[in-house]
């Protein structure tokens, strides 16, 4: 067996670094999904009437979609057994629910969890200057830096609080980018979502710090259905970070989140994600099913939305962060690194929908597959009829580390305006032998050379991440490659 293969075997066998589960009393409702369950979730969340109605509307739509298993979304290049939606508990909140004012009041077990993750809340609060809205399972338990944000008029809180305190804003924007009719999982989310984050940046405000949320799936058998809503008013700027790790589980966990971003005139929203959910063991058992709908709309002229993601986890990733370029001169960006190993399957990419004039979009996607994993890029670029002078550049490169994995590219280019300039490039290759040789003859070990080359392959994307995140991303990628590189 050559070292390459050995290396990959080791990756496959390497344990999930963040695999453990915290023992916290949870308030979990029994498995199953019905109108009653929706009402129960709604009651637990103290929803206002309009919210309950909106949930029920979504649920009825979802019921229709779910009534025929043949109609489940199957177009993606992924394989999994049909999910039994009645075998999932749709609500789980950590015990000791009251909201905390200071960290001292937080359940010590929870603090330990964060410490094990290497992101102690206190330190972050003091050192990093990052406000952390930590979501364990479905209820936000700690929200920091709120006061400072409040000074600027920025609202950054859990979705539950947002519904309670800023109902009008939530009502106005929720579902405006991803309506419940959008797709199967968006409908499910709209019906059962329990919490998430809400972020509102008033006109002309540049958010003084990076906003971040850490999501963790914690309760066995409970899917997590968060909702994130970010509204950036005219001329504002915000950088939002989302990162996830999840403890190891034997049964598949369903994660169906919805993220909506609205950028008004000249506003800019930068959304960065590190996704490291439990990918399942070497045989592909267990692991998170990640079916996420993320979409932003550049509503006003000159607005910009940028998605950056590092995807290393989940048994299945089904995710297409998209931008609707409605305002003239608006800009959409998508930078992605997807790393799959073991039996992971990723079908991820983006959609850039050009509606306004002089809009431009950039897509850079890097896929790395190892072992028996499958990694697909699926992206749509649509230039509508009225989108004069639209510009798109797409580059998607795939790298294969092993001869039993797959790397696929499914681009869709729909051009309906002659002034459009659309370019798509894609390459698939393995780590170059000459590059390896060059490194090795300079005394760099084979393993370090692969690390170096993969890191170089992803460089373009990692530099897009905010600094704190980039450090974490590099660490994560190195850990993921660790086995492969020996």
């Amino acid at each position: 067996m050559n070292t390459d293969t050995q290396y990959l075997h080791q990756v496959a066998e390497s344990d999930y670094e963040h695999g453990w589960s915290t023992e916290i009393d949870s308030d979990t409702i029994p498995k199953g999904l019905s109108e009653e369950v929706i009402r129960l979730i709604s009651a637990k969340k103290h929803d206002p009437d309009w919210m309950l109605e909106s949930r029920l509307r979504a649920f009825r739509h979802w019921e229709k979609l779910a009534s025929d298993t043949d109609k489940y979304p199957r177009w993606a290049h992924i394989q999994y057994p049909n999910i039994d939606f009645q075998d999932i508990s749709y609500y789980s909140a950590p015990g000791n629910k009251p909201r905390y004012d200071s960290l001292d009041e937080v359940d010590p077990e929870l603090i330990k969890t964060f410490e094990a993750l290497g992101i102690p809340l206190e330190e972050q609060k003091v050192l990093a200057g990052v406000a952390v809205d930590a979501v364990i399972d479905s209820v936000s338990v700690a929200t920091t830096f709120k006061e400072e944000l409040a000074k600027h008029g920025i609202i950054f809180c859990s979705f539950t609080e947002a519904i309670e305190n800023h109902g009008d804003l939530v009502r106005k924007y929720m579902g405006s980018v991803v309506p419940y009719t959008d797709n199967f999982y968006a409908a499910l989310n709209a019906a059962v979502f329990s919490d998430g984050s809400f972020c509102y940046i008033p006109a002309g405000v540049r958010c003084p710090m990076e906003l971040s949320t850490y999501f963790r799936i914690n309760e066995a058998g409970t899917g997590q259905f968060e909702r994130t809503l970010i509204v950036a008013e005219e001329g504002s700027y915000v950088s939002y970070l989302e990162g996830c790790t999840a403890p190891r589980r034997d049964e598949n966990q369903l994660h169906a989140a919805v993220v909506e971003i609205i950028a008004h005139k000249d506003a800019e929203v930068k959304y960065s994600t590190i996704q490291n959910w439990y990918p399942g063991n070497a045989e592909g058992k267990g692991g998170v099913y990640n079916f996420v709908t993320k979409r932003g709309i550049c509503e006003g002229a000159g607005s910009k939305i940028s998605w950056t993601q590092l995807e290393t986890g989940s048994a299945i990733t089904w995710k297409y962060p998209s931008v609707i370029l409605k305002g003239d001169h608006s800009v959409g960006e998508f930078y992605s690194v997807a790393f799959t190993k073991g039996r992971q399957q990723a079908d991820t990419g983006t959609k850039m929908l050009h509606l306004g004039r002089n809009t431009s979009s950039t897509i850079i996607s890097k896929g790395i597959s190892a072992d028996r994993s499958n990694n697909s890029y699926r992206g749509l670029v649509r230039i509508n009829k009225g989108a004069e002078n639209a510009r798109n550049f797409t580059q998607c490169d795939s790298m294969l580390l092993g001869d039993r994995c797959g790397a696929h590219t499914f681009p869709y280019l729909e051009i309906q305006n002659p002034t459009a300039q659309v370019e798509h490039e894609a390459t698939t290759s393995k780590v170059g032998e000459d590059q390896m040789f060059y490194c090795q003859q300079r005394g760099i070990s084979e393993q370090d050379a692969i690390k170096l080359l993969v890191s170089g392959f992803c460089q373009e994307i990692l530099t897009q991440l905010p600094m704190e995140f980039a450090v974490e991303a590099r660490k994560l990628l190195a850990i993921e490659l660790e086995g492969s590189v020996g």
Partner: protein, 428 residues
């Protein structure tokens, strides 16, 4: 209460099949195949836009019409000017020896009607083997109605000095459905060039559903040029399936001009090492013409090379579709596969949908694809105009050279001029 049955469009074709069979008899070596194909067709029915590979092409209006399957009438054949070739002519799908010119074919090369050759073992082994009627409903339909077609056999080591020109003449005064069938078998080390064209007599609407199967044996070379000059009332679905053996070389050059709806399926199965496959296409459309090129290259064995190059020019309300798929199977190492699609939109209402996909399961490969869509280079136009060339001429010059890239790839010189002529007519 009366029971009203839902009248599917497929049912009309199934009923026509029954009548067709009772008229033409159901015996013969291909009747089994025909029976299986119609059963498969009844199962799957026509593709709709919900079908991923038909996402951008709506064939429903075309199949909803009523067509007749008619016997040939006396007619004339135009051919392609300047093309010195052997000629096999089919009228409404049936072999017409009186129009064919097959004298002087070297020994070892046979061009004959499928009907006359049906007893041949070779026919039975190959017909229906490469064109998969399980996957493609139109192939199933063609196979079900299989009655005649052309068979070209070139024995081992035989190299044809001139191309073979297959002409399908369609004559009708009523809307007509014609389903031509072609089998080309090139033996070991054989070499052949085939030109395929259709002539439509009369102004009626027609649906042509053609299936062509090509077997390229070890070290053989086949070049296939398909020249389609459409009219606003002709629609075409073509399925060209190629099977390649060791060290064989296949090249296709598909030229599509206009037509109501055109769908060209081209699938290459490179089932041995060191195969070379070149796929070239040029499509030009105006008015409401819709041209869909769908290619599938299946690299099942290592050390092969495939290169695809498709270009399109879309004027007025025309729609272009390019759907390319390259599959590299597990252990098919050292594959070089390239895919390029470039399109130019000339008006606000023209549209282009491009979907160049790669599906790769082997690591030591070099695969790339590129797609661009835009308008004519403004700087190029400016340069020509600054040299005193009228804008109209400058545009035509640039578009001709854009198309020329593909035209020049055809090894048959006589076709170049003819195709340039069609490009010119489309641009004027």
């Amino acid at each position: 209460m009366p029971i009203v049955m839902d009248h599917r469009v497929e049912d009309r074709f199934l009923a026509a099949y029954e009548r067709y069979q009772s008229m033409n008899g159901t015996s013969g070596p291909l009747s089994d195949l025909s029976q299986k194909a119609i059963e498969r067709f009844a199962e799957v029915g026509f593709p709709t836009r919900k079908n991923e590979s038909w996402k951008y092409t709506n064939i429903t209006p075309v199949i909803n019409r009523t067509y007749q399957i008619a016997d040939p009438e006396t007619t004339t054949v135009d051919g392609i000017e300047g093309l010195d070739a052997y000629r096999a002519v089919f009228v409404n799908g049936l072999f017409a020896p009186e129009h064919s010119i097959l004298d002087g074919l070297p020994s070892g090369a046979v061009v004959e009607s499928l009907h006359g050759a049906s007893e041949d073992d070779l026919i039975q082994t190959h017909v229906g083997t490469y064109a998969d009627y399980h996957q493609e409903p139109f192939t199933a339909l063609n196979t079900a109605f299989l009655k005649d077609g052309v068979v070209i056999r070139v024995s081992s080591g035989v190299k044809l000095d001139r191309p073979v020109h297959i002409i399908h003449v369609i004559t009708a005064d009523q809307p007509i459905l014609v389903q031509p069938r072609t089998l080309i078998h090139a033996g070991e080390g054989a070499s052949i060039q085939v030109v395929y064209s259709t002539e439509l007599k009369g102004s009626t609407s027609a649906l042509i559903n053609a299936v062509t199967e090509i077997h390229v044996s070890k070290e053989a070379q086949v070049e296939f040029s398909d020249l389609q000059i459409g009219t606003p009332t002709t629609s075409r679905v073509t399925n060209l399936s190629v099977y390649q053996q060791n060290q064989s070389k296949f090249q296709s050059d598909v030229f599509t001009f206009g037509g109501e709806i055109t769908r060209n399926n081209l699938s290459i199965h490179a089932d041995a090492e060191h195969c070379e496959s070149l796929l070239h296409g040029l499509f030009m459309a105006r008015e409401k013409s819709h041209i869909d090129n769908s290619t599938f290259v299946d690299h099942a064995k290592p050390n092969c090379m495939s290169s695809e190059y498709y270009k399109g020019i879309l004027d007025e309300d025309a729609v272009g579709v390019f759907h390319g798929q390259v599959l590299v199977r597990e252990d098919a190492q050292l594959i070089n596969a390239y895919q390029t699609n470039r399109s130019i939109l000339l008006t606000d209402t023209a549209r282009m949908f491009s979907k160049p996909a790669l599906e790769i399961y082997a690591d030591d490969v070099k695969c790339s694809h590129g797609a661009t869509t835009g308008q004519l280079d403004k700087e190029g136009l400016f340069y020509l105009r600054s040299r005193g060339i009228h804008e109209k001429d400058a545009r035509r010059l640039m578009l001709t050279s854009f198309a020329g890239d593909i035209i020049e790839k055809s090894p048959i010189q006589a076709l170049h001029e003819v195709i340039y002529g069609h490009v010119d007519r489309m641009l004027s």
